[in-house]
């Protein structure tokens, strides 16, 4: 894995504008950045990222079954009591998953380490699946990259296949997101294209415009019934909205399904560590409530995790990260080394929630930037990657998206 400086495509800004990629610059900073790219060997892609991600998704499915069987774990993951059945039912009915994104710390040498699973509302799909792909095609055509250079990016085709597996041809799907956010919308439309290519009808409606019918079904902005709703809006928010009580009786299939609320939750990380302690792609992780005193040197860990904590104590002591169980774009995350905060995110959203402790896996540094590898799961297998890098140790919403390629 290397970071290689490459000439930018001369017309990429015009191209971005033409195709509607309006968030290529965000907050006055470049978001799409092709002044350099990450290069991987095929071995790094297949054995370092693809296979581990596919395996981790299978482990996560095991974790869902485990959590659903335990009121205690549902509680720890802050699933509202009133909606635990909704979550459990979605799993028992095998409501299908479409996509998700693992975030990995990976330097090309040691095993990729799972930082978290964006299993419910991952974004940056458009730039991963489409714009990055176009970049490679253009750079190949321009002779900037040698012939036979590849990219780990079968995301679009995998999505088309997945939609085709899950839905009968001609089915109507609705897609929704909160109005006025081009970044979220880009992801939604990338999914809509894939659904349409799979022979399905794709309709968009702003989330705030969804209505409830007299007989308890959800309707779009033209009062048409919604049979399937892809929502780029997290379950933890849906379950706290006014319509939450109407979800289970609506007959509407939600995508991602409600059971993804258990994966897109940092509480997943200690559960995985408990189930698969020592797995090469996992970092030791615990619920803070179990180990807060022990980590501060002021007491013992709770009995259930005492042995596992003992085995991880030295690693946690060297550095650990504290994350609220629900947070996105790095909000309220802090990194501690030898008891001192070495980095803390600016945003304090989600600060009131329970937290987990995870051993610190520093991101590798390339020219002063730290990349996080996003490994896309489509259906149940890894289909491609997208990379975001940040100057900070915590990847936040000012990070840059970097293209990648696989060396021939």
């Amino acid at each position: 894995m290397q970071k290689i400086t490459l000439p930018e495509r001369p017309h990429w800004r015009a191209q971005a504008k033409d195709v509607g990629f309006t968030f290529a610059d965000m907050h006055g900073e470049p978001y799409w950045d092709e002044t350099s790219a990450y290069a991987f060997s095929l071995d790094q892609i297949e054995n370092g990222l693809e296979d581990p991600a596919t395996e981790l998704h299978a482990m996560c499915r095991d974790a869902v079954a485990h959590i659903i069987a335990s009121e205690h774990l549902m509680e720890r993951l802050a699933i509202p009591k009133a909606h635990r059945d909704l979550v459990a039912e979605s799993w028992k009915r095998s409501d299908p998953e479409i996509y998700g994104r693992f975030d990995f710390a990976y330097d090309g040498q040691g095993p990729a380490k799972l930082l978290e699973y964006n299993a419910d509302t991952p974004t940056s799909l458009y730039e991963s699946a489409a714009f990055q792909w176009q970049w490679l095609e253009d750079q190949l055509a321009a002779g900037v990259l040698p012939e036979a250079t590849d990219q780990f990016n079968g995301i679009h085709e995998a999505l088309v296949t997945r939609f085709g597996e899950v839905f009968e041809e001609g089915s109507d799907l609705h897609f929704t997101a909160v109005a006025g956010n081009p970044e979220d919308y880009g992801t939604v439309e990338a999914l809509g294209w894939a659904a349409r290519e799979a022979g399905l009808g794709a309709h968009y409606c702003d989330l705030e415009k969804i209505a409830l019918s007299d007989d308890g079904q959800f309707l779009d902005d033209e009062d048409r019934r919604i049979a399937v709703l892809f929502k780029l809006y997290p379950w933890e928010d849906l379950l706290r909205d006014d319509y939450a009580n109407h979800i289970s009786g609506s007959g509407c299939l939600f995508l991602e399904p409600a059971w993804k609320a258990l994966l897109s939750n940092k509480g997943l990380l200690p559960v995985l560590w408990e189930m698969f302690e020592g797995h090469p792609n996992l970092l030791p992780a615990f619920f803070e409530a179990d180990v807060a005193d022990a980590i501060a040197g002021q007491g013992a860990p709770s009995e259930a995790v005492a042995a596992a904590f003992g085995r991880a104590e030295a690693q946690l002591g060297a550095g650990h990260v504290r994350k609220p169980i629900l947070s996105r774009e790095g909000a309220s995350v802090s990194i501690l080394k030898s008891g001192k905060v070495i980095e803390q995110s600016i945003s304090s959203d989600y600060a009131e929630l329970p937290r987990i402790i995870q051993a610190y896996a520093p991101l590798p540094q390339f020219d002063g930037f730290r990349p996080v590898i996003g490994a896309w799961i489509v259906g149940q297998a890894c289909a491609g990657i997208g990379i975001r890098e940040d100057r900070s140790r915590i990847t936040q919403d000012l990070s840059r998206f970097k293209p990648h390629y696989v060396t021939p």
Binding site: G20, P122, Q151, G154, N181, D397
Partner: protein
């Protein structure tokens, strides 16, 4: 093995275009026939459709008829819309249908020269009589003066009509409230991660 897609969708069209992208206003050659035989006759004279097109389309239109014909709860209501003698029960139209649901009889079909397999589209559409002696499609969104002849039509004419069998999505309903989603996230700028 190549690890990237052969093709992708590169354009972000925006929310307004999204709904319409499956049926943009491009035009196709289209023809209407009162029955299968008239289509076959036309094909043998070298019309725009082949014998096989006729047969496939006629069977598609019949399937759509069963699935998506307008349905009424009384014969009088159906005949008000489609004219005297132009309706029958669901039971006569399809096995296992109800004797107390009424549908117009199939009065022809509209064929579009499509590029095949397009999402949410059907290249053959059933036609029904209207009470004033013209013809209409399953959703009754378009009216044609005749059930035979050819023309250029917008592809949107070939949007697959919503199913009316049972209680289905995409039929219209009355909204009792709106705006019950989205409040929990207010104040944040993005919802993905």
């Amino acid at each position: 093995m190549i690890k990237r897609s052969n093709r992708v969708a590169i354009a972000i069209l925006g929310a307004t275009a999204f709904t319409l992208a499956g049926c943009r206003e491009e035009q196709v050659d289209a023809a209407a026939y009162p029955n299968l035989q008239s289509c076959l006759d036309d094909a043998s004279r070298g019309g725009i459709f082949t014998v096989q097109d006729c047969e496939t389309s006629f069977s598609q239109a019949q399937t759509l008829h069963v699935e998506a014909a307008p349905r009424y709860d009384a014969l009088e209501v159906c005949e008000e819309q489609h004219g005297d003698g132009a309706c029958g029960t669901e039971a006569t139209a399809t096995q296992g249908g109800s004797g107390s649901i009424f549908m117009p009889l199939l009065a022809g079909y509209l064929m579009g020269n499509m590029l095949g397999g397009r999402a949410g589209m059907s290249a053959a559409q059933p036609l029904y009589k209207t009470s004033d002696g013209r013809f209409t499609n399953a959703t009754r969104s378009s009216t044609f003066s005749s059930n035979s002849g050819s023309a250029k039509l917008n592809t949107s004419q070939f949007t697959r009509p919503a199913a009316t069998v049972g209680k289905t999505p995409m039929t219209r309903a009355t909204a009792s409230s709106r705006g019950g989603f989205g409040a929990s996230g207010s104040g944040r700028t993005g919802f993905g991660g």
